[in-house]
């Protein structure tokens, strides 16, 4: 361990934060969203099973109620976040060209945030009946 200190910059040694406490952030958030998704996915699948072949009015009446709407929004946030973290690793593993990798990662972030936001707004619209 003392040897490893040779490679650290003087500033890093003064701060004494190791990897500035962000080294495990990706790993940890992947787990946090995974644990959250377990009950959310089960509940959402149960709602969806009741909506097979349903018309728009039934979908609005079911998903628009406060509890199902909240569960759906939580599911969307956790799922898009979890997907972003997971697909990010797939890109980092298989895309070796630096420019293509960077572009893919940017596109992934933008797509997850934009589509995630759009679907959350859609649920809010169903719930608020606007």
């Amino acid at each position: 361990m003392a040897d490893a200190n040779r490679y650290r910059s003087p500033l890093a040694r003064v701060r004494g934060l190791g990897a500035a406490k962000t080294g495990t952030e990706h790993f940890w958030l992947q787990r946090v969203t995974a644990v959250g998704l377990i009950p959310l996915v089960i509940l959402f699948v149960i709602y969806l099973l009741g909506l097979v072949g349903a018309d728009l009015a039934t979908v609005k009446a079911t998903l628009g109620r406060p509890v199902p709407a909240t569960i759906t929004i939580l599911l969307l946030v956790a799922a898009f976040w979890h997907a972003k973290l997971g697909i990010q690793v797939i890109i980092e593993d298989y895309v070796h060209h630096e420019g293509t990798k960077l572009a893919s990662l940017l596109l992934l972030s933008f797509a997850c945030i934009a589509i995630g936001l759009a679907s959350v707004l859609a649920v809010l619209k169903l719930a608020l009946g606007i």
């Binding site: 099973l49 898009f80 997971g86 759009a118 679907s119 859609a122």
Partner: protein, 129 residues
């Protein structure tokens, strides 16, 4: 950047497929597939908010034989990724890392995801009437 002269570790394709490696890559494949499934879910929700015409288009696609086949695939991918994800969380807590347990939980995931997929579709068709 790997140098072209460096020896490479044995390539993946010369290994006999094992439950550990096959389920591992399936976790990644189902994860990527579910990312696409999430787009379908987003389309469905946004269409429901947009109005009857957009909603009818999505329902028409989902109800078609191709849509149903895709949905069947997503159902299995979801249950597989859910069950194998729980297996991964167990490993994070150092549970079930020994080979006999790993094999058992692996088969439980394979069988469980199949059973849950069939059950979900039976319930779906029953609810639809």
């Amino acid at each position: 950047m790997a140098s072209a002269e460096r020896p490479l570790s044995p390539h993946l394709q010369i290994y006999k497929p094992q439950i550990s490696s096959v389920l591992s890559i399936l976790h990644r494949i189902t994860g990527a597939a579910l990312g696409i499934g999430l787009l379908l879910l987003a389309w469905w929700l946004i269409a429901a908010a947009a109005g009857p015409d957009a909603f009818a288009t999505v329902q028409g696609f989902i109800g078609s034989w191709l849509g149903r086949l895709i949905l069947l695939g997503f159902t299995w991918a979801l249950f597989y990724h859910l069950l194998n994800g729980i297996r991964h969380l167990g490993w994070d807590l150092l549970w079930g890392l020994d080979l006999p347990t790993m094999t058992k939980t692996g088969w439980a995931v394979v069988i469980g995801s199949g059973v849950l997929t069939i059950l979900a579709w039976i319930v779906a068709y029953a609810m639809k009437g």
